[in-house]
Symmetry: C2
Subunit: 443 residues, 2 copies
């Protein structure tokens, strides 16, 4: 690839709904997905919910010619379900497991066992370095009363942190996956605003797919009405996001989604629609950075910064709500545990006292005695485990809140450096790409 | 700070041994540590084993004048124990929790509950950006039969991944903490070779401290002979590591450690010795990168790469040993669980059959019946939990092994790009800072 030419990269993302023996027509759908991908029309394939490593391995075998490089991200009890197949060489991989991911006792929701994470693969596209991320966030089971919202917000927070901190210096950033968030949801705004990632659906010049870019649609036979709730037509929760660098511009030439059915097949690839984005990478002319639009850019930067402060503050509030809830749950667990202990002591006292003090025959019916003791032990054990679990949840929420508070302070400090926010201080130097260093000795 | 001048940064690192009500003289030692630090002689303070947030908060209060910026990294059940105090503004923080960290049932070792992690704080030193990392790895309880070795190797692997991926583009990298590894231990070599970090003890021009830079010494009254094993004088397991960037050089002017006792105090700050390194940051002249030494540098790069391949391969072997061990443990848990289930079924059969088939009085003694049933349930529950835990351990070990395999492949590919490794291919372009792109379309 010559540096002066543009390069096209076709990215594919699909939540495969690959729960063996549970998801409908799982083997057939994997076969369909393999058939689609092995045509080699996609350069980078990002898959979610490939829960079984066997399915990954059979896909890997099938795609060995079209996509010789691949990686399966392992995490949690079952796995993260994340996989990447690529035509470009994968040089390095890294996985970040989210600190919060639902509750183990909500086994029917299953998220906790999945070990939700974000996987990073460093690819070489010609002489460019691309950081490709694939992720899957906690599902939303009830939008009105979403008890997992603080968890998902913390996941979005950690996702943006991971992307920001690991992508400095790379040419291209591509993120694909099932975010389980509507386009204007808090976590989505947080992710896009903090990282500067662009949504390929919003940026594309050509679109072919479901109305409004929906990826979970009523027309998909695997989707029930209940799942969509008030959103009759469907919702958009799967995304392909991208970002260039100072030396490399990136745009979306075209985007498409599947539309709920696949020609010549009785059912679609998955309960989610598949996304394909054709991204164009083009070196930026060297003059792009400066120019006479500097003050305009600064104004827009200040606006963006102010927006970001608002969003992080909103996220902090949501995390605080989660904190209160987790504290309450932990308190309930502790109280139940104490009641279990009191019951056990009471039982032992009733059983022991007559025998000890009066020397008479044990009056407590044995069956009831053992059943009650077993119940007490079960209560004590489960409340202890819950207490430990809620303590970990609290630590993660507090940690995220601390980081958010620090970030808001730092962003506000940065904002004060902009002339727009400080009209009465014309002497102050405008920041030049760098953050203003309030504590720099020379200032 | 003018860009042309050099800047001195004094870094302090100490494992505080701060287990409330367990560690000896804990409050007094925290008071001593606070007194030492509030003198303001250190610019960046990295603390480990600050297990109680209350202790962090009281230190924060005491150091509010000398170190106005601080962060406490939260993780796990108890916390990560990691804290940073800084004279420079902290702009951003991020924490990565290691995927493996001992076993919850080894409660007397306590590591699992600590949620060992690596914390990152992004500081502004004048107009430079510094990534400062503080970490604490799993302890080594028995060097000869170290069952935690695979866990520690995976932690070192994840630590180097985290540092490498998050530090691209920053001017300075500083890492401090208790690595629980001797200088030539596998994990330590892996960390230093992969990241290019320098050990301040080895690099310093002036050293004042314990012989051989030891940080866990026999002269420390809190250290027992048993802890040091065959290393009578002591061991070096605490480190301050550093790295510059293409535009910024970094060197260590001086380094010192405490020597087991503190003047005018009856006991030392901790069971570990405190480390202080004075680092000098100096912009590199622009000509530094090129020059007539290019082929020499390439030779040395190829050598380093070959060394790295060996180290990663060694680490992979260690992880494989861990994998076998975890598989065996999981198998044992499963077998015990099956036996528990068989016992329960047998018991139920014995108890039920006469009653069902013959209609006679229950011959099974009730007390034994309930006790046996409780035992069976306890076995089933604990083996189930263990099975889940070992599955997670296996996933993490397999994940690390996959990443290592991929990394070795990529490094070997890179190595093939060096003329040293390919003497018969003089036509091949030497790589210019960039990795050679075997899959780049133009090659």
């Amino acid at each position: 690839m010559a540096n002066t030419d543009s390069v096209s990269v076709r990215v594919f993302s699909l939540n495969c709904w690959g729960i063996r023996y549970v998801s409908k027509h799982c083997p057939q759908r994997y076969a369909m997905i393999g058939d689609l991908l092995c045509k080699g029309e996609h350069d980078v394939v990002l898959l979610q919910e490939v829960w079984s490593e066997k399915d990954y391995l059979s896909l890997k075998k099938k795609l060995s010619c079209s996509h010789p490089h691949s990686h399966y991200f392992k995490s949690g009890v079952i796995g993260s379900g994340l996989a990447i197949f690529s035509k470009y060489r994968i040089h390095d991989t890294f996985v970040y497991r989210y600190s919060l991911n639902g509750y183990p006792y909500m086994a029917h929701h299953g998220d906790w066992f999945g070990g939700k994470a974000v996987g990073l693969a460093v690819l070489s596209i010609g002489n460019l370095t691309a950081n490709v991320y694939v992720t899957h966030l906690h599902a939303e089971y009830c939008r009105d009363k979403d008890s997992y919202l603080p968890h998902r917000v913390v996941q979005a927070w950690e996702l943006q942190q991971f992307i920001r901190h690991t992508s400095a210096g790379v040419d291209v950033v591509i993120v694909g996956g099932d975010l389980n968030m509507h386009p204007q949801d808090l976590g989505n705004r947080l992710l896009r605003t903090y990282t500067g990632l662009h949504d390929s659906y919003l940026e594309t010049t050509k679109f072919d797919g479901c109305e409004d870019g929906l990826t979970l649609i009523a027309d998909n036979p695997f989707i029930t009405e209940k799942e969509l709730g008030p959103f009759e037509k469907g919702i958009r929760i799967d995304y392909i996001l991208f970002k260039g660098s100072p030396k490399l511009g990136i745009s979306c030439d075209s985007m498409s989604t599947t539309k709920g059915s696949v020609p010549n097949h009785p059912f679609p690839y998955s309960d989610h629609e598949a996304l394909t984005a054709e991204l164009r990478l083009k070196p930026r002319p060297l003059t792009d950075a400066g120019g006479d639009n500097q003050s305009k850019t600064q104004d827009s930067n200040a606006e963006k910064l102010a927006e970001l402060v608002d969003i992080v503050t909103e996220a902090r509030t949501e995390v605080k709500v989660g904190l209160h809830c987790a504290e309450r749950m932990r308190y309930t667990a502790a109280r139940t545990g104490v009641m279990g202990l009191a019951l056990l002591i009471l039982e032992l006292a009733i059983a022991a006292v007559p025998w000890l003090a009066l020397g008479v025959e044990q009056p407590f019916p044995r069956t009831s005695f053992y059943l009650l003791a077993a119940l007490c032990f079960a209560i004590l054990l489960s409340t202890f485990l819950l207490y430990v679990f809620y303590t970990m949840e609290l630590k993660s929420l507090q940690g995220a809140e601390d980081q958010m508070r620090l970030a808001v302070g730092s962003l506000q400090e940065k904002l004060r450096g902009f002339p727009l926010a400080q009209p009465h201080d014309p002497q102050r130097k405008p920041p030049e790409g760098q953050e203003p260093n309030a504590y720099a000795p020379e200032e």
